[in-house]
Amino acid sequence: MSDAPDEPDDLESILAPRSVADSPALRESIRVQTERVIRRRRAVQRLTRLGALAALLMIGIGLGRELRPEPHHEFPPDLVYRPQVVVVPVVVPVPVSEPSPSPSIEKNESASAPQAEMLAEQAEDRSESARLYRVAGDGYLLAQDYRNAARCYRLFLARAGEPALQPEAQDNWLLTSLKNAAFQEKFNVGKTDG
């Protein structure tokens, strides 16, 4: 080939590399600068990863809040209407079931319910017996002995007859209900017979 060593080459003197002493300081300086770039890049990568993780966490928290069913909406206390309950004592007239003494009781007013019942059983006069049974019923009712009171009121209605079934203003609740029951019974019996 024509690349023989003895071939004259006018470019050799121009293009041959010149021996220049290496500069360790330059080499070290460039190495430090490039390593700084690498460290900065590594720091940025870590920050980016941390940022991505934080963003994912925030998205997760946000989604969790969005998807969680809310039991009720919370409003500021000043926007919520709260009805104020004011307790006002109201006097309500309650009908007292205290039996009003019938005019015919006055005679045995001081007698107790069992005594009145006893007198009613022994009375020969039917109307007197009825009156005493009513007094006994009233006495039992006052003592809250409803069973005996009902029994005495039934005997009173049996002795007094049909006129006693008419409701009266002074009748107490038990006597009224017994009168109604007796009236219904009588009505139903009449209906069946007819």
Binding site: M1, S2, D3, L11, E12, I14, L15, A16, P17, R18, V20, D22, S23, L26, R27, S29, I30, R31, Q33, T34, E35, V37, I38, R39, R41, R42, Q45
Partner: protein, 184 residues
């Protein structure tokens, strides 16, 4: 470059990109002398711009390391490409500065001393090399900087010695024309 070298350089690149300074230091030491020699040769001996170019080349390389693909060429070739661009830019800046700067001495002053003549020649060499076709520049580099014979270049490049010889002749001619055209 065989596949083992490709894998090796890819591994080093990935390690450096992950922040491994030890891998970078080894790679840097492996290529520093060769790149320095190339830059100084390309600068024709203009040591002031050669040092700047060397520093700029390494900084560009580390910043753009992600774009380095070992499958397309070795790290040394990639570094040389960066250096060639930096040298061209540096020479352009140098010429611009010289145009915009007025000489302090009058034209009647004595002729420039010898170091200035050397600098002038270095500048012409650098500009002529920068203006060359990359193929011509590569063959001149192999011949004059790396001191390879035509046969060695042909074997390394996978071409015939005749082709390399022909290319070397054309490269010399092109260089000579540009070298003589500068400052005439």
């Amino acid at each position: 470059m065989d596949s083992a070298d490709v894998w090796r350089e890819r591994g080093i690149r990935d390690a450096v990109l992950a922040g491994d300074t030890a891998a970078w230091q080894a790679w840097y030491d492996e290529h520093f002398c060769r790149l320095t020699a190339y830059i100084r040769w390309r600068c024709g001996g203009l040591t002031d711009i050669a040092d700047d170019v060397l520093q700029e080349t390494w900084l560009i390389a580390i910043r753009r390391l992600r774009s380095f693909d070992p499958a397309r060429g070795s790290f040394a070739v990639w570094l040389s490409g960066i250096a060639a661009n930096v040298i061209r830019n540096a020479l352009r800046s140098r010429k611009r500065r010289q145009r915009n700067t007025l000489p302090l001495e009058s034209a009647a002053e004595p002729a420039v001393p010898l170091p200035a003549a050397d600098e002038d020649q270095a500048e012409r060499v650098a500009e002529a090399l920068a203006a060359l076709n990359p193929l011509y520049e590569a063959v001149l580099r192999a011949k004059y900087l790396e001191r390879m014979t035509v046969e060695t270049i042909a074997a390394a490049w996978g071409e015939s010695a005749k082709t390399i010889e022909s290319r070397l002749t054309r490269a010399r001619q092109a260089f000579r024309e540009r070298y003589e055209a500068i400052h005439e």
